[in-house]
Amino acid sequence: MSIVSWLKRLLARKRPRTFTLGKRGKPGIPGAREDVVAGRHEERPPYGTRRSEEMGQEAWEATTGPSEQNSWVLPENRQYLTHSTLGGMSREKRDLLSREIGRSLDETARTLMAIFHAPRNISLVHRLFEIKSGSAKVRCALFYVEGVVDGTSIRTSLLKPLLDLNTGNKSFQVSAEGLAGATIPESQVRFATTYAHLVHGLLTGQAVVVIDGEAKAIMADQRSMEHRAVDESPTEAVVRGPHSGFVENMYANLTLVRSQINSPDLVFERVYIGARGQTPLTIAYIEGIVNPKLVEEARRRLGAISTDIAAPNALQARFIEDDPLSPVPGVLLTERPDRVASMLAEGHVALVDNAPSATVFPMTIWDLMHSPEDYYVNPFVATFVRGVRWLALLAVLYSSAIYVSLVTFHPEMIPTELLFSIAASRETIPFPAVVEVLLMEGAFELLREAGLRVPTLVGPTIGIVGAVILGQAAVQARVVSPVLVIVVALSGLSSFAIPNYDLGLAARLARFLMIAVASILGIPGLTITTIVLLVYVFSLRSFGVPITAPLVPAWPHAPDILSTGPVWMMRYRPSQVRPLDRERQPAKARASVSFARRRRTPGGKHQ
């Protein structure tokens, strides 16, 4: 075989769709790959974290009884043997975690403390106690990770019932199952037989009770994470419609979404991102509407993230976008549960985690210019407001650039009176138009950035100082012309009217490109740059969907692209997400009012 043909074969070889745990090149756990590809699921059945066939099996066993006593424990423990909690750790620790729990309490406690670097690490809290069963006394230990559990709940619903056993004459079997059945009122009780399972439970808010002589530990759900109360979204505020926004807690966020969709078909699927960080992340979709290939693609892209910590979802978005270098976003980040719910109902997929915004895909550039409020107001008003937003986008991109090109290259295009006015105001300005514009635009960007960083109380002051005093001073000092102040103010104000923050940032960036080209080639330069930008936007995709769909390419769509139609006319779901169920509602989605009215009218035709 020649070198050339060998190279061709090497290049042509498809890379497998699987991935290893942890960083590339580090040894993985034997058999881990298959389990991870099957889905790194958490243990909580109510969130529908397992595959439907597994859930179906469980539902069957719930009615008929398990075919074998406690047979469900073993598969779950097998799953945790390969759980990606092990990823990113040293070989020794991986070996430690893959071991099964021994019967000796002391050994288990020592191992857990070694894994958590205790007592140096104060996160792992433990308490030893004894339980009397008849005449025998059994040594037990309670473990939990500080900060992720509810301390009060542990004291009242876990530790107190256990210690109360010593005062009463209650007889029970000294085993994990017996103790759990007799004392722990929590509904979520599980049993772990491996350290991997145990460690994962501790990190996700479980309190662990280890019994001396038992090779199995009790895990009781006591999770409680501090988070901010549900509040209004700061960047997507509306006058009409729900005001609640996402917060920094995934469970609260999922509750907010589920409160909008009361359906068992709403599936929340759990994955963990980052070899060390192990950030929990929920893939949300509606079974029966969403295209399974889209969910599969989401799993594939999330599974391929090979980093140590990928905490906030904006960071995760960079890992899963089709074109991560594009300033135009490839996924939609929204802070509003109602928007996520409505997009899930259309067949989109959402990622929800411990961040105050959810990631929705596939998205189109039209989605970026929509606001949730569009659907809560009259469609004509909403269409008008959307038009204003598009004008604002054009103003951000072009206002300063057109000023530069008109003043520099095409003064004959300006109406005569206005031309005289501009010429008079620029007479004493020592700079060319482009320098003048860049100075003011730069100052505006500086003000905006400073306004974000300064304390809230000082922020408005900075805005007033910047907008009024600095602008007026610049004009009086004859550094910039008064007309330019108006142009830059228009441009800056318009940038706040763009409903999507990421698109607003992209437009601000493109504005400087426009100004630069306008200063060299004038209006023709703006035309050329517009063509290039349009071509660029047309080449972008979001999870394989052209972001300009369904307008270009021209696919069937509801009246909800540039304008907004009445919601009862939106019969079909967006075609670009290829939903399994295309029809959202029947053609006649509301009661006929006119007929009823005629019947009620005295002397009417149908009286």
């Binding site: 290259f409 095409h410 004959e412 295009m413 109406p415 005569t416 060299i520 080639l521 004038g522 209006i523 023709p524 330069g525 703006l526 035309t527 050329i528 517009t530 063509i531 290039v532 349009l534 071509v535 047309f538 080449s539 052209p546 300009t548 307008l551 270009v552 390419p553 021209a554």
Partner: protein, 379 residues
Amino acid sequence: MTHSSDRAGLPAIPDGHLDWLEVTAVLILFTTSKGFLTFEERVARAAQTAAWSVPVFSALLSVAWLWPLVAVLRAHPRMNLIDITERLAGRVVAILLGLAFSVYMIGVAVTDTDEISHALNASVMPRTPHTVVLIAILAAALYLSLKGTEVIGRFSLFVVVPLTAALLILAALTIPTWEIKRVFPLLGPGALELSKTYFIRQAMFGEMLGLGFICVYLRKPEQTGKVARWTAVLSTLVLAVTVFTTQVSMPYPTLVRQTVPYLRLARLIYLNRFFQRVDALFVAVWLGDGIMKTAIAAYTASLAMATILRLRTYKPLLVATAVVVGVTAHMIPSQAETIVLNFDIVRPYSVILLYLWPWLLVLLGIVRRGQESAEAATR
């Protein structure tokens, strides 16, 4: 995904992405963009007062080569003209005709780019060097063509409506200046001379030969005929309207002295005191359409060359094509010479290719089918 060249034993060029609307939009823009340049002046010079009828009757004549072209493409779905030629006439003929097509498309790109850049330079940017304008146009066109068929199709679909609408709106705004008597006598230079003009000026639809390459990307190859019909009808309509508008808006002596008649037309428009220069809109539309045309011409030329050379991608050739177009356009000393090159050399002689290629393939197809039938009967 299927590949156009797999059936002909050639390397893979992906296809099957575009709807008929997108392909139609590409071809309409490709064909009608000449309306923004010297087209009206050249047609008026040749057909005098009968200029308006040239697009209409030339379109009717061009059915004579469009019909066999569509028939051949429909008989060989997912294959471009060079692949079909190679199958029916052999590799040598395919290379020769492919080269002729590439040269034709490069000629179109060169003349188009040079005309736009010169006109732009002269009318709105006298202080900017011609080379800078030329490079800017070529860079934008190159970027567009590098993005590939899908993006060209989408972009065309997005801009075809506003561009065509702008052209028609500009025509409508000139109504106050119209003098219908300027279309009389109807036969212009005489029936015989007019017939010759109709035949020669079929070349105005020569860009539709590009269908033989772009139709490969149609999602449904059976829609090739639909694309050809809509393109022919709409292009004819647009070109006839532009010629008619310029003809009735300006006296003949003025018209034949305009290098860019439609720009002059835009300057005639007077809406009110504020909108004193509507031609700015025209410049933007004109430039956009010109860039599109250069991009599509360079793209089809590179695609044809890539098929001849059995390359997996046309992109490396595209850069080379852009360099050739830029250098050649720069070498032509004046706009007048570009116009002569375009209308007296490239366009008239392209009619030979327009008739020769489709009819050759139709005849060879018939012969080949006859041979196959005879062989089957012998067996």
